[in-house]
Symmetry: C2
Subunit: 401 residues, 2 copies
């Protein structure tokens, strides 16, 4: 900090602004902040790279270079810049950087906003805003994104026109999009895929975008075999998720096929329609019981949340699980092992799903040309108590860290 060059006022160094002293100082809404002396760094806004350059007595190019570690600046230059940055608390503007390098380092993630449900007694059911599964996936995306210095830009949507619009707006703020299940109809997904890189999580196969999903078929088949062959259940129901969810369809089909193939009775139908939520699962059971139906020997639920609600409803009616009816889930969300009884379920590599979705998108962003294939991740049956298996030796959680 020796030869302190007075340094031209920031505005002067720029182009040929018509009003030298004022250029750059006023934003798009001039006069909002009354002009103040433009002598020092006392501008109203954040300090910019020009301020840093002035304080450090170097050019903006040098500042940029030390900040980004390009071209190996002289130690002196480097130090002066670093001092100025620290002094000003300079934080480079991401939008400007993004505009310049044409990369925002942001991926948009769109989840389906949970419907607002109202329980029978008119009480708002905010419990269903749980959404564990999507959150876990997002965590996987986030971890992977972090390694590439990307961040997640999250938006939740319903199915209205305004929401579609929001997704396109999100696309403008990111380098690519990861769409959770059921956030956009296939036609729109296709359109979007023409404009920006898009990865779907368990969506419909769409030209121009890639799908990442897990192997519903194999997982469900394994579960079915276990239920029928190992436990000997003769009637098995599928309590479904959202009717328009590809995951749901695949699980349904796989279960039906395997159960039938093994000679047991497969039960399903409109009365067995859930919605991936605990409340939905409970409601199905309540209705079934209320209408005097007899239950099958085992109920395979579309996901863990549903199973949770089913167990809740059954127990409430004095039906033992798995003694009276066996219940299974799908996903293996973290709470599944803390329930009573511990939930037998099909484990998906949830965070991997997210991580792989990100990596796929990342490669699409960096190499827009090449087409990519859909990806399917393996699943596996996790046998716990709710299917009728004996309690596993519980893992020792005890240990002082």
């Amino acid at each position: 900090m020796d030869e302190i060059v007075p340094g031209p006022v920031r505005g002067d160094t720029r182009h040929t602004g018509p009003v030298p002293g004022t250029s750059r100082a006023t934003g798009p809404v001039p006069g909002v902040l009354p002009a103040h002396g433009d002598t020092e760094a006392a501008e109203h806004g954040q300090p910019t790279i020009y301020d840093v350059a002035r304080i450090a007595g170097v050019s903006i190019a040098s500042v940029s270079r030390v900040l980004n570690g390009r071209r190996n600046p002289l130690p002196d230059t480097k130090e002066r810049v670093e001092r100025a940055v620290a002094e000003l608390g300079f934080i480079p503007d991401g939008a400007a950087r993004a505009l310049s390098v044409r990369l925002k380092e942001v991926v948009g993630v769109v989840i389906r906003r949970p419907e607002v449900t109202v329980s029978a007694d008119g009480i708002f059911e905010d419990e269903e805003t749980s959404l564990q599964f999507p959150d876990l996936i997002n965590r996987g995306i986030e971890v992977a994104a972090q390694k590439r210095d990307f961040n997640l830009l999250v938006s939740s949507v319903g199915l209205g026109h305004a929401d579609t619009h929001r997704i396109f707006a999100l696309a403008g703020k990111s380098d690519g999009l990861i769409l959770h299940d059921r956030v956009l109809d296939p036609e729109q997904v296709g359109r979007l895929g023409h404009q920006v890189p898009v990865v779907n999580l368990a969506g419909m196969p769409t030209p121009g975008t890639v799908n990442v999903s897990s192997d519903n078929r194999a997982g469900m088949a394994e579960l079915a075999r276990h239920l029928v062959r190992d436990h000997g259940y003769r009637s098995i129901a599928y309590l479904g998720g959202h009717a328009d969810s590809p995951d749901n369809l695949a699980r349904h089909a796989a279960l039906a096929e395997q159960v039938t193939a093994d000679g047991a009775q497969f039960v399903s139908g409109p009365a067995w329609q859930g919605n991936y939520t605990a409340a939905g699962g409970a409601r199905v059971i309540e209705n079934l019981l209320a209408s005097g139906n007899s239950l099958p020997q085992a109920i395979a639920c579309a996901n863990d949340q549903t199973a949770l609600g089913v167990v809740y409803a059954l127990v409430r009616h004095g039906i033992d699980v798995p003694g009276g009816v066996a219940v299974t889930g799908f996903d293996d969300i973290p709470v599944a092992r803390h329930l009573h009884p511990q939930l037998t379920t099909v484990r998906q590599p949830i965070t991997d799903l997210g991580a792989i979705a990100f990596e796929t998108l990342y490669s699409m962003i960096n190499d827009a040309g090449r087409a990519r294939d859909d990806i399917t991740l393996p699943t596996r049956l996790v046998r716990r108590e709710s299917c009728g298996c004996p309690p596993m030796p519980m893992p020792l959680t005890a240990r002082q860290p």
Copy 2:
């Protein structure tokens, strides 16, 4: 679409580019994509507002105006622009817009990345990546943000230097930051607060930033009174969360105070140190039992997740809840009511917390001047079974929607 003005090639309309035909066409890495004829919209990248203007036969200003609904353009102009936009699938670039209007419409949200814990048998415990509470808060933030056309930019951090750096980088990509508990030490928070608007969720009071938290004190006191006065428990333990969490400290203090004031014995200490996770809670109980300690009559846990692990561990050792020991949580996360026994807990308005954090930040972004006070939201006791209360009449979940 009648008087089709040929419309100058995009590049021509700009400044006084030295190489008219090429300006704007090449990015910062010239030659990466070999030059192609600049006749039509066939540029390699996304279409820009210049493309739209050319196709529509109007100026970029007009395009911008119809897109943003400014200045009431003529119907003809409007229609031509809309047609061009649809034809090209034009999505305005968020970075460019942000740079221009000095508003990104993005809030950064920083959560604490869960520590990787390893259970006694050496198995990686990914179950603790659950993080329900922060996710629920984020949902609240997101819903509020949506109303203002903002999006959430999420980042998770540990406590290293690289992570601190990441937070500053996030600040550069957003208009303001919402920090969850324990993501940055108070000094750094203060520094950050000088540069950008910052709202802390249950953090330490820091000059220049605002805190949003819920009334731990009142909630805990109410719980303590219930346990001691209504149930008559004579010894009550506090199973803590992270030692450096302000929430934890407040809950601890409030419980201790009220329990003591009511003449019962308050139990705590190093052996009762948890970490807000189910595994942490279970571990405390295991250790206590292993070392032959007798348990108090009631255990108030720092949060619901902890209580979940505690119940799990107790049941595993044949101790009935609440028959043997009463257990309570804090937060009232959605699963709390689905557990066996249903968890008595202190309800925080979780999503409100997030929503209010956002609204506060939003007002800070739009009016940088005014200082704001910290905000405390009310809590209330939710009596369910795990404290020893009789099971509530279960809400009817049955109803065909």
